[in-house]
């Protein structure tokens, strides 16, 4: 008898739960501004805040939105594509006015973009574009990974040429499911092509954007090729791993030292900035995160105003090295990490 009453109560409670849901008693998120106009709300969904670059990008976007008096709701998927899809759908439920998305990868973001498209919410991808897919509309603000990597490695090759000797090179790759990693790898080989008399690639380390894997790979490569003297890392966030491996092989020396290993990277983070200041790093390709944030927000506002927004907005970035450090460091986001 008790069991029956209890089950009955459970069914009633469950029915109330479902009924409440179907009635749809959600609240409005509209917040009028000082002029009584509806204040815009933008959802910012990042795949991860794993590295300083993503943290800097996240803060830059929020700062840009705040500057324009736009509300922000944020969501971090922590590397889970399924959770990211849920988060974007949640933004749609909240009826945000726009979405800035850093996708987990170019393919798994397609359903999320579709959800935004169906709700007529403009969506801009930050730093990682979506794969081509029929009926899917978005804009992407991305660094020209291939060009910037090529320019960085070309600078490194010039430094190699000045030494008058041939160098053995190592490339540390990112996650090959990440289109950015592919672009940087292609840029590296674009620069190397035709320069085989100066640089010979003897090792490729697949880091999968993981510092432990990068360290293990670099250590193994240095053991197999102890005379490696030219290293390009697809991201500056892997530098701690590279430095640890070089130190353990007694190969971490400053510029000017005859045993200096020519080092180059990509991103422009705080580690790279410090290595430049300390004289260990030759060059890094800097993604202009402030430009990318500004362009992302502007693309959203243009989308809301029904203006034509290009599918891809390129951030040319710039190469920073010992020669232009004083003039370029203000624009290097890694130099500003930790500052108010």
């Amino acid at each position: 008898m008790k069991k029956t009453i209890h089950r009955f109560a459970t069914v009633i409670a469950t029915t109330i739960f479902i009924t409440l849901g179907l009635v749809g008693c959600g609240k409005s998120t509209d917040t009028p501004n000082a002029n009584g106009e509806k204040q815009l709300t933008v959802g910012v969904a990042f795949e991860t805040l794993q590295t300083e670059y993503w943290v800097a990008g996240f803060e830059a976007i929020k700062a840009e939105l705040k500057k324009r008096n736009i509300n922000v709701v944020e969501a971090i998927a922590d590397g889970d594509a399924n959770r990211q899809l849920q988060q974007v759908r949640t933004f749609v439920t909240r009826k945000v006015d726009g979405i800035v998305l850093v996708p987990k990868d170019s393919k798994t973001c397609i359903p999320a973009i579709k959800a935004a498209n169906e709700a007529n919410i403009p969506i801009v991808l930050f730093n990682r574009p979506a794969a081509d897919a029929a009926g899917v509309k978005s804009s992407a603000v991305v660094a020209d990974n291939r060009k910037l990597s090529r320019e960085t490695v070309e600078f490194m090759i010039e430094q190699a040429r000045k030494t008058g000797k041939k160098h053995k090179a190592m490339l540390i790759m990112g996650d090959l499911g990440d289109i950015n990693a592919i672009g940087r790898k292609d840029g590296f080989y674009d620069a190397i092509k035709g320069q085989e008399s100066v640089v010979e690639v003897v090792a490729e380390v697949p880091s999968e954007w993981n510092q432990e894997k990068a360290r293990a790979g670099v250590v193994n490569a240095l053991q197999a090729n102890p005379d490696i003297s030219f290293i390009f890392s697809s991201s500056d966030f892997l530098f701690p791993s590279v430095v640890a491996a070089l130190k353990s092989a007694n190969k971490y020396h400053k510029l000017g030292d005859s045993a200096h290993v020519i080092l180059g990277g990509f991103d422009g983070d705080a580690t790279a900035y410090q290595m430049l200041m300390d004289g260990y790093l030759d060059a890094t390709g800097v993604q202009d995160v402030y430009f990318e944030a500004e362009q992302s927000v502007q693309a959203l506002l243009d989308g809301l105003a029904k203006k034509e927004v290009p599918a891809t907005i390129l951030d040319p970035g710039f190469v920073i090295h010992q020669g232009n450090l004083p003039e370029k460091k203000a624009r290097m986001w890694g130099a500003n990490v930790g500052k108010k």
């Binding site: 739960f17 849901g21 969501a75 889970d80 749609v92 909240r94 393919k107 359903p111 996650d175």
Partner: protein
């Protein structure tokens, strides 16, 4: 003269609010009550929480997690564990994608692409479950170690198989399995009903509990412990294969990292639902409530617009509170 019985004595006690709360607290449906209380409590503060589209979002998120959790429930009831479920999901995802993809898939454009792909994904789950079951029952490797090694191996295999690339271009006939909510819910509902029936209405289900309580006593009583354990792991793998179908169709992508970071969430949901990590205790309906609770918490914290760091801490705290309540409830039940 009226005969005093236990029931009549109980019926004579005054009902009272305290008694009602105590009864609810000690109820097998505690987690469901927690879900309802949580939902109602957060409604005034969470815009859109009870809207139809948000409930659909919650449902779409929890369905594949529930399917994996069903299989894990069976294994936990016998006192085992399967750490390889998420790797199985990933491997099934890329193999299914490789078969079905219109972008150079093995059966690209063929009418057989979807049925063969789906069968292949389920088979991957069955094969993984078979390997785990064999390792645990015949090789007598502790379940934690056996499934940890298969997790590592299969995870690497999935990434090697695709060189970390994602596989897109999945046919619409497959994608609808995850995108059409009614279809995904039907598949999940059928899987849940089957698991519930097996556990609560069949001899096999009673054997599972017996082994979980005391494997030696079960063996002495004539329970085919090895066979039952083996089948539990095979079923766990099968459910992982089915979950992979929902995950892959939902994201329209074969992904070698699919569900990689979901294992602890899934185990947590199963345990919150009342399944004991030591075996012998657990119910499918409890797992349903546990996964529902997890999905509600996740969704509500996103809707609240809290920053990322707060979300992870609050989520951990809420789930810990739920687990503590359940532990307290079990203690009170045992002491009665």
């Amino acid at each position: 003269m009226a005969t005093l019985t236990a029931n009549s004595i109980q019926d004579a006690r005054p009902a009272g609010v305290t008694q009602t709360i105590k009864r609810l607290f000690l109820s097998d449906y505690l987690i469901l009550w927690l879900c309802l209380i949580y939902f109602v409590a957060l409604l005034p503060f969470t815009p859109g929480f009870a809207s139809l589209s948000n409930l659909q979002t919650i449902l779409a998120y929890l369905l594949p997690l529930l399917v994996v959790a069903l299989g894990l429930t069976l294994v936990l009831i016998i006192g085992g564990i399967d750490l390889s479920v998420t790797s199985t999901i990933a491997l099934a995802s890329v193999i299914g994608g490789k078969i079905m993809s219109s972008e150079a898939g093995w059966l690209a454009g063929s009418a057989l692409a979807v049925p063969v792909g789906v069968i292949a994904m389920l088979l991957v789950g069955v094969v993984m479950g078979t390997i785990n079951g064999f390792a645990v029952t015949n090789c007598r490797i502790p379940a934690f170690i056996a499934t940890l090694t298969t997790m590592m191996f299969v995870s690497g295999l999935a990434i090697w198989f695709t060189l970390s690339q994602k596989i897109g271009g999945l046919p619409p006939g497959f994608v609808m399995l995850g995108q059409k909510l009614w279809l995904a819910a039907t598949l999940t509902g059928l899987a849940t009903a089957a698991a519930h029936y097996a556990l609560s209405r069949t001899l096999y289900g009673r054997w599972l509990y017996a082994i979980g309580h005391n494997p030696r006593a079960a063996l002495t009583s004539g329970v085919p412990v090895k066979r039952v354990t083996f089948i539990a792991y095979v079923l766990c793998g099968l459910f992982a294969g089915l979950a992979s179908i929902l995950f892959t169709a939902g994201l329209e992508t074969g992904n070698p990292e699919m569900a990689r970071d979901n294992l602890l969430d899934i185990v947590g949901a199963v345990v919150i639902g009342g399944t004991s990590l030591y075996g012998g205790k657990g119910r499918i309906i409890g797992t349903v409530f546990g996964v529902l609770f997890l999905a509600l918490v996740d969704n509500s914290l996103n809707l609240l617009g809290l920053n990322f760091y707060t979300v992870t801490m609050v989520k951990g705290g809420v789930i810990l509170a739920a687990a503590l309540l359940d532990a307290l409830r079990n203690k009170l039940l045992v002491s009665r």
